[in-house]
Symmetry: C2
Subunit: 268 residues, 2 copies
């Protein structure tokens, strides 16, 4: 059944809107994604909305219809609303035709199948959800398995992270762990830990022979990779820095390194 809503006071709408806050996400065990394209790609990889809200003017779009059908088939909740309510939900001036709440997946390390990809990203104390989302988007592009978040990293299920991932959150794996647990897990199987570093025993990233699987270890936006983590790496690589700045945006550095590794794995 599709429910028409006209007011932001509708309790289901309020519970969706609450998902902007981490506390509500944890309580409801749901996160919000938006946009017909992202939600359609999510559906294609088996992610059915728990709750779907769509703009009444987009009801005839076949992709909207497919999402409505899939949600109802799983006994999910479907709301028909105005664009204004979609705007209120997402904060976007030009909101997409749909938004949907999805179950937050398990993010334990045990869920990571390291043999599923040649490349993985490990991020330590990553603070900016936009950076995280961008990294997931790049992981999708290069076929990397996903991002393992260590220590006090940002929440991968915030609206900003989901948005920047452009669907990457649905196609890539995300794990959350302490540094100690991650290192123990890493050494329990195959894998090379390659840290991005600005100093120390680093080699130019083009000289590093990337092996399968490689875990690319990226440090915090401000402070980079702490020494104990750098010491735990099998290799440290650096990017040439020719200007006055001493570092790159972390999502940018991740992408350059991932594409360099991909270029080695799959030469032209």
């Amino acid at each position: 059944m599709i429910t028409d809503i006209t007011s932001p006071a509708n309790p289901v709408f309020k519970s969706l809107k609450a998902l902007a806050d981490k506390k509500a996400r944890r309580e409801q065990q749901l996160f919000l994604a938006e946009g017909l394209r992202v939600c359609t790609e999510a559906l294609a990889t088996g992610h059915v909305p728990h709750t779907l809200i769509f703009a009444a003017d987009a009801e005839d779009h076949p992709l909207t219809g497919a999402l409505v059908t899939a949600t109802l088939a799983r006994r999910g909740t479907v709301l028909r609303a105005t664009r204004d309510l979609l705007h209120r939900l997402t904060g976007k001036d030009n909101p997409g035709a749909v938004a949907a709440a999805y179950p937050i997946p398990d993010t334990g390390l045990a869920g990571i199948d390291r043999s599923a990809a040649r490349l993985w990203v490990v991020a330590e104390n990553l603070k900016d959800p936009g950076n995280l989302g961008t990294m997931l988007r790049t992981c999708d592009a290069v076929g990397a398995g996903g991002v393992i978040l260590l220590d006090q990293s940002c929440d991968p299920f915030s609206l900003e992270a989901v948005r920047a991932s452009m669907g990457g959150l649905f196609t890539r794996q995300v794990a959350q762990a302490s540094g100690a647990d991650f290192l123990a897990w890493l050494r329990s199987g195959p894998g090379s830990l390659v840290g991005a570093a600005l100093s120390g025993s680093t080699v130019d990233y083009r000289s590093h022979p990337f092996t399968d699987p490689t875990f690319l270890f990226m440090g915090n936006e401000q402070s980079g990779l702490p020494a104990p983590y750098a010491d735990a790496c099998d290799a440290l690589v650096k990017l040439p820095m020719k200007g006055t700045a001493d570092s790159l945006n972390v999502a940018v550095a991740t992408a350059v390194l991932l594409y360099a590794a991909l270029a080695q794995f799959e030469p032209v």
Copy 2:
């Protein structure tokens, strides 16, 4: 002379705070940068604040002193304030020790010396100031000359762009032009226009022989490079996309391409 201020109603403070708005930036012909490090790097490249505001608790820091001295020597305005006022100015929970207003430089194409660098970035209809700032930061890292903004691109002097550039706005050149004016200027001198494209007569970016100077042409975040611009390119290159997404973040794609060009110019 240093002026102590204690209230956000101070008229100079208000004029600084107004620089968050594009209209005020245009009227005052000033933009705001923040942080001791960025302002110090700006000073090192000859950018003296028009107006400097610093946190009283940071007055004894030698870098603060150098900024105060330089600003006063140019008959600029210097304000001593509380961290709370810095917080109100920048919106940051942990504001830096200083912020400063700088004259907006001329952004005409005539100011671009194409022989100054092997690589330049051209961005068409770039909307996100964070992406622009990140691109300037990467330009600094690879020694690219700067960014030429075409058509309805975002303002390079917004707080968000300046912040993401991490000083790159001071060390790189920025120009603003219409597409037609840019193409006429480009063809008036040496330079290869290389478009980043997802379709058309594209080659893998690793197979393209980058020449000096290369103008790397990046399209809008949503829609990519429009066909007339793609047709004007000397070559189109693409990045491998192995996942479900069909594009990368534009600042990420720019960085991968810039580093690939740098790798050709300067092999390991």
